[in-house]
Symmetry: C2
């Protein structure tokens, strides 16, 4: 299989084949592609074109492509199909976790309709079960399909049962060992099966050091556990330890990417999940909230400046460094918040208490503040000739950097304490607050210095 690259020519060629209804050529084209590539192509087609090629794919491919689509494209596509087609051509061919994810995007009534058209009652039951879990928990991530064997079996009974179970599963990474009550006891690696003679019993060769999670564990914790312990699959148990499903690493990779993207977007002032390919209106909707907060903060800062208008009238030179001090507060606060947000997100908080964090931040802040104050002092001494302005800028720089650092560290810790996503603290929010505070400190100090010296 060659790595596929989407080009304009490819799409134009495909569009022509679709409009001339050349089914054989399209089938041959699609046969060479991975479902993930077909999904990429799909996003470049209109709904009618997409539907045309959809019904030329075999059922398994069509189901795989559906799970690979962007959520809004999938929704548009499914809305245009009757429930029985969705059930039989798509849901029935998917693993239970993908099926539940796709169904979860439909409204309740549609979910029931689709489920009623699935012939295999136990599969429909599995999906209905999964729909009950919150999608941000282990239960919402897991699939029901897994291979389990009983502790008391011999390897040959095991192999027979595994052959039967394996038919329903895409890939087998682990075999889970349970007792008579279905309680998870351990794993049996395929390597171990390969290396063992057929006459030993499962209980002699399985590995009882198994890491598992309960159904209600948070998705972010699941991803941290799988990452930390380098796991490819993670079994999920109910409250009394019975094996109910398993989570595979590919689902967790998606979570890691999404979490990282979300934090990055928040830090950049973008409020909802938006892709480069989305339209102008979606982009504006994602960006305008933070800009409004910035505007509001800026207006507050303008009040602070208005309050000192007589001072500026008397000493207009003060205006020269106003933006610099405000911006510096914003930059420093953002750095401090980012460090806290990242250590909270990775779960690697270590043993440092919050007080120790603030104390260390104070050390960093004092060092940064000293360097920056000395530089701005030196600049003013060499290039400008205004002793009052020099003292004002230097002291304001020092106090703004120290204050903004502590504020930037404190806010995400506070949000986290109240179970609010600490990433909200980064981006324009802390920046704007620090802008205002910077303006306030600068003009207050300026007032003091200029009235004393000026």
């Amino acid at each position: 299989m060659v790595n596929f690259e989407l080009t304009r020519e490819y799409i134009e060629n495909l569009r022509e084949l679709i409009s001339s209804k050349n089914e054989t050529a399209i089938v041959n084209l699609l046969k060479e592609l991975h479902p993930a590539d077909i999904a990429e192509i799909y996003e470049e087609l209109n709904l009618d074109e997409a539907k045309f090629i959809y019904f030329l794919m075999d059922d398994d491919t069509a189901a795989d492509v559906l799970t690979e689509l962007e959520e809004d494209d999938r929704k548009k596509f499914l809305d245009s199909l009757p429930s029985d087609v969705i059930a039989k051509r798509f849901i029935d061919k998917m693993e239970s976790d993908d099926a539940a994810d796709v169904l979860g995007e439909l409204d309740d009534q549609r979910q029931q309709e689709v489920l009623s058209h699935i012939d295999d009652v136990s599969a429909a039951g599995d999906i209905a079960d999964l729909l009950n879990y919150d999608e941000d928990t282990a239960g919402g991530l897991m699939a029901k399909e897994l291979i389990k064997v009983k502790e008391k079996w011999g390897v040959s009974t095991c192999l027979r049962s595994m052959r039967r179970q394996a038919e329903e599963i895409d890939e087998v990474y682990y075999v889970y060992v349970v007792d008579n009550d279905g309680i998870l006891k351990g794993t049996l690696s395929l390597k171990r099966m390969l290396l063992s003679p057929v006459d030993v019993s499962v209980k002699d060769i399985y590995n009882s050091d198994v890491i598992s999670v309960k159904v209600d564990v948070d998705a972010e914790d699941v991803s941290n556990i799988m990452d930390k312990y380098d796991l490819v699959a993670l079994p999920v148990v109910d409250s009394i330890g019975r094996l109910v499903g398993r989570i595979t690493i590919d689902d967790v990779v998606d979570i890691i990417r999404e979490e990282a993207e979300k934090d990055y977007q928040l830090a950049s002032g973008i409020i909802e999940d938006v892709e480069a390919s989305d339209g102008v209106l979606q982009h504006t909707r994602a960006r305008i909230p933070w800009l409004l907060i910035g505007l509001f903060g800026g207006i507050l800062a303008s009040w602070v400046a208005s309050g000192h208008l007589d001072l500026i009238e008397q000493f207009p030179a003060l205006a020269i460094f106003m933006a610099l001090i405000a911006a510096m507060g914003g930059n420093v606060g953002m750095q401090s918040s980012a460090i806290v947000v990242q250590s909270l997100a990775s779960g690697s908080v270590g043993l440092e208490t919050n007080w120790l964090k603030l104390l260390k931040e104070l050390g960093i802040a004092l060092l940064n503040a000293s360097i920056l104050s000395i530089l701005i002092f030196g600049y003013n001494m060499f290039f400008r000739d205004d002793i009052a302005l020099t003292i004002t800028v230097t002291s304001a720089m020092f106090s703004v950097v120290v204050f903004a650092s502590l504020f930037g560290t404190f806010i995400p810790l506070l949000l986290n304490k109240f179970k609010i996503d600490p990433a909200l603290a980064t981006g324009p929010f802390v920046t704007t607050m620090n802008d205002i505070i910077g303006m306030f400190l600068y003009l207050t100090i300026g007032n003091l210095v200029f009235t004393m010296l000026g």
Copy 2:
């Protein structure tokens, strides 16, 4: 295995056991822990304590713990050990990719010394091979250990050979099929082996649709491919298609996390990889470069303001909105850059040309600029009574938002064209540039408006 949680009490207890040299108790404690947990504990101990518990672990655990450590802790630890101990107790017990990663952190002479102490010449050769690849390529990520079978074999020959090969490998996910020249032909899933009778030949049951990468492919592309196609393992081939290694998903998860962290840190103005647990000096070193750029930019902006000092002297009210306009330019530019950086990083650039991107950004910018200008106009009309200031602020807001959006989109695209990490465009750099430009536009427009109306 219970999920382990690191507590202060646990460390204190362990420290007491170490100082009283209670080896049996420590061995029992460690036996219950995963290497990743022991690595976490290690980071809380001093070098002597760490060395004491290291030599109480069995070799495999000790090697696993070593690979889990933070790079600087590992370096400190290895520097305190003779080369033969490193070779025999650690490197010899690791998979080749981990061994090469650890060795790659030592200087050249030390690498040679350690390699010369490894008894298994072919293992040492594998590691030496891997050391030749750039660590940011597929070759630098791959491990040499894999199970390969020949196309022409029968399933029973296969099983015998696999048993032999499997002894050296931690986990088996895929079996690779090669021809007589070692050229990669496809994969044989373990599920397929489970389901096939022993008398068929490999060539009848293997899957020839295999996705592979060449050794020189960029690590970020490797992670995008594995993510896109949901792969757990990816075979690596040389320039003529011979199978030379395989990359597993756990290494790629680390890359995804690291890339995301790096982009996030750059966006927040932190320049080198720094952890919350690092010391004050490391933090200052990571943060001060961007602050210096911010300071320099702010000084440039102060020149712009100085150049209009007579204007500010005449109309001090202009100072009131100076910081707001500068900050708005920074915020808008950051949003625009973040969208471009993220679409470039995920490789999901789609078919939009750069011109189309800029055109769309212009649409978003015009919309955002209109909303924000109308709001600031309304605010000034209601709450302030200065028609020249109102016109200045409103026009400056509009032009700054439009300009900063286009600038923020253009810069990362430009950097990417010259193969420079576009993420550099986010954070204080674009923000600072936009601060200056905001100041310039505001005062230039102010000059125009106030000399005409004032």
